[in-house]
């Protein structure tokens, strides 16, 4: 029977070839589209790779009238420690870390300073970028960013001054400068908090307690991301968290919550399509292939009416012919699917060489644009190679759906074959 099926497919190839090509094309399109959608979803997580988390919380603050001394990165507002305590209580939160980002306008230069707990996950992520030295052990030790260090002739062991305080450089970190919360100097969180607390210019803009921070990184499981984000939104809508008054008498602004979803909207690409659209297109394609394969199978049966009549005459039972036709359909589907899969692998290799650009919201890389000769330089964009890969689950799902199409076509064929009466076929020969 297998030999008969194979010879049928090879010798009477026009309609069968059309089926194989159609199935191959649909497989190619469905697998590639789904892989692209997954790739862009994964790409949206790339900015989070630098911070060991998938939720970032910031709070909008006030714009200072005088730009001098130590300020919160503009225009961020302080976040109370209580919020961290509340978030820690949420089920599914794996890890939480916090930092304080400051702008320091010293007479000789401007620097972005971040206060970091070098022992929490964000601090450890930073430590992994060390290209020289070690992480600070004491309050008067700092890390400096490579480019900043070069520009200011700093190296491990050298001393420098920040807002009148003396620090020793103990390490140099290599960053691209495009990361979320990229800074020139990293020091102990407590030191940064004390520096901010003592800053008159800062206290004139916001009421800052010495335990406040202004950015939180939370790591949660991907599946619970939406639910936890929703819970956090509930917590920050609490009036205790939002209605503090500033020395300027303005209401503290709302919180910003960034998740990979926020970055998905920042991705610009011709091939960027949403999961929902991908599924709709996939369903349409599968429906289309079902119609084409079924139509061709029925056409084949009509063309081979006489042949099936002969088979019945020489002693084939309906079930024998059904098995034969189902085998032919299965071989076509398998061949089409394998061709489509091979083409998808080639397409994925090609797409993996393309670059995806992700615009990072200004607040996350806050740089005083008034210090730049070209204000557009403040708009940071990350460029990544598209993290596209062949998902075994998608391949399996596509195969199952294509097989279901084949099965449905087989049933349709069975129905047609059962209707054939050998004598009628012979009589009309």
């Amino acid at each position: 029977m297998f030999r008969y099926a194979v010879k049928e497919l090879l010798k009477r190839n026009k309609l069968h070839l059309l089926n194989v090509i159609t199935i191959g094309l649909v497989t190619l399109m469905v697998i590639t589209l789904n892989s692209l959608a997954s790739a862009y979803r994964d790409a949206a997580r790339l900015p989070f790779e630098d911070i060991q988390g998938n939720i970032i919380i910031q709070r909008n603050g006030n714009v200072p009238e005088n730009i001098s001394g130590v300020l919160l990165s503009c225009s961020l507002a302080p976040i109370p420690q209580e919020l961290i305590s509340e978030i820690k209580k949420i089920d599914g939160v794996k890890d939480i870390s916090a930092a304080l980002t400051l702008w320091v306008f010293d007479p000789d230069n401007f620097k972005r300073v971040s206060g970091v707990d070098f022992h929490d996950s964000f601090g450890q992520k930073l430590a992994a970028k060390l290209i020289d030295g070690s992480i600070p052990d004491t309050d008067n030790q700092i890390l400096v960013e490579k480019t900043y260090a070069q520009k200011n002739s700093l190296e491990v062991g050298r001393e420098t001054t920040i807002s009148g305080q003396h620090f020793t450089v103990v390490g140099v970190v290599g960053t691209t400068g495009n990361e979320v919360m990229a800074s020139d100097v990293y020091l102990n969180l407590g030191t940064a908090q004390e520096m901010a607390y003592q800053s008159q210019s800062l206290q004139q803009v916001e009421t800052f307690n010495d335990t406040d921070i202004n950015i939180i990184f939370i790591n949660v499981g991907q599946t619970s991301l939406k639910a936890i984000t929703h819970t956090i939104k509930g917590i920050i809508s609490n009036p205790d968290m939002t209605t503090g008054k500033t020395p300027l008498g303005q209401t503290v602004g709302s919180y910003n919550i960034y998740t990979p979803e926020s970055f998905e909207n920042q991705i610009s690409s011709l091939f960027h399509i949403s999961d929902k659209l991908t599924w709709i297109i996939s369903l349409i394609l599968f429906f289309g292939v079902a119609i084409i394969v079924a139509r061709n199978a029925l056409r084949t049966i009509l063309e081979r009416r006489k042949e099936f009549g002969i088979l019945k005459t020489v002693g084939f039972k309906n079930r024998d012919i059904q098995r034969e036709v189902s085998l032919e359909i299965f071989i076509q589907i398998l061949a089409g699917f394998l061709i489509g899969l091979a083409a998808s692998i080639i397409a994925i290799v090609i797409f993996s060489r393309t670059t995806v650009s992700i615009a990072i919201p200004w607040e996350l890389t806050a740089y005083p644009h008034f210090l730049l000769s070209n204000p557009n330089e403040a708009n940071v964009t990350q460029a990544h190679l598209l993290p596209i890969k062949l998902e075994p689950l998608q391949v399996f799902a596509s195969f199952v759906i294509i097989m279901a199409v084949g099965l449905a076509t087989s049933f349709l064929s069975v129905w047609q074959i059962n209707k054939l009466k050998p004598m009628e076929v012979m009589r009309h020969e």
Partner: protein
């Protein structure tokens, strides 16, 4: 000699037309019988009924001790596979299979090994003089050769009876005569029962007995 076919009061209606009307007759084992009649007389329908391709409305047919009228469709298929061989006017070979495979076609639904299949095909191909063309496809064969393949196919399961419906209808007279001689030889050498439908008197005269059908009834027998 014992009967291999016994037909009693057989009736078949297609639409409003009584194509076979209360026919009764029998065929002896090893007989070479010709059924003759003009177009539309019901001879092909009769052949279909005898071969279990069509169900009778009334009466009964016993072929090789089996009552066809009480069989299911699947039982009839199995019956045809092992008891009946067919030869058609237009050969009815499968275009995508070569000679050996066409001859072995009735063996395909069985679990016969490839080696056995080819051995058995080779034997019957030899009996019909086709040993040189085994790997050819139907479109590479002459009409006479195609009909030989059809005859070999009808013999593959050593059937008890072979039905041939106008087997020379698509052949020139010389080739047609050779095919009739081949059928006759198989009948005499193997004792193979043959039932031949034809409207050709010359061919009918080669048979042991002729049944003439007219308007669905037996007009005469000789």
């Amino acid at each position: 000699m014992s009967n291999i076919v016994a037909v009693n009061q057989l009736t078949k209606t297609l639409g409003n037309l009584k194509v076979i009307d209360r026919i009764s007759f029998s065929i002896e084992k090893g007989e070479f019988l010709a059924i003759q009649g003009p177009s539309g007389s019901g001879k092909t329908t009769l052949l279909g009924l005898l071969a279990g391709l069509e169900k009778a409305d009334e009466g009964n047919i016993v072929v090789a001790d089996k009552d066809l009228t009480s069989m299911t469709e699947d039982e009839l298929a199995i019956f045809r596979r092992y008891n009946v061989g067919f030869v058609f006017q237009s050969f009815n070979l499968i275009p995508t299979l070569n000679v050996v495979e066409n001859i072995a076609l009735p063996l395909f639904p069985e679990h016969v090994s490839r080696k056995d299949m080819f051995e058995r095909s080779g034997k019957v191909a030899k009996a019909v003089g086709l040993t040189e063309r085994l790997d050819h496809y139907p479109n590479e064969l002459s009409g006479g050769e195609q009909q030989r393949v059809a005859i070999a196919r009808s013999l593959i399961n050593e059937p008890k009876i072979i039905f041939a419906d106008e087997p020379t209808g698509n052949l020139d007279s010389k080739t047609g005569q050779m095919i009739i001689e081949l059928l006759r030889k198989l009948n005499s050498d193997r004792g193979q029962t043959m039932v031949l439908v034809t409207h050709d008197d010359t061919i009918a005269n080669e048979s042991d007995r002729i049944i003439r059908i007219l308007d669905g009834r037996i007009a005469n027998e000789n």
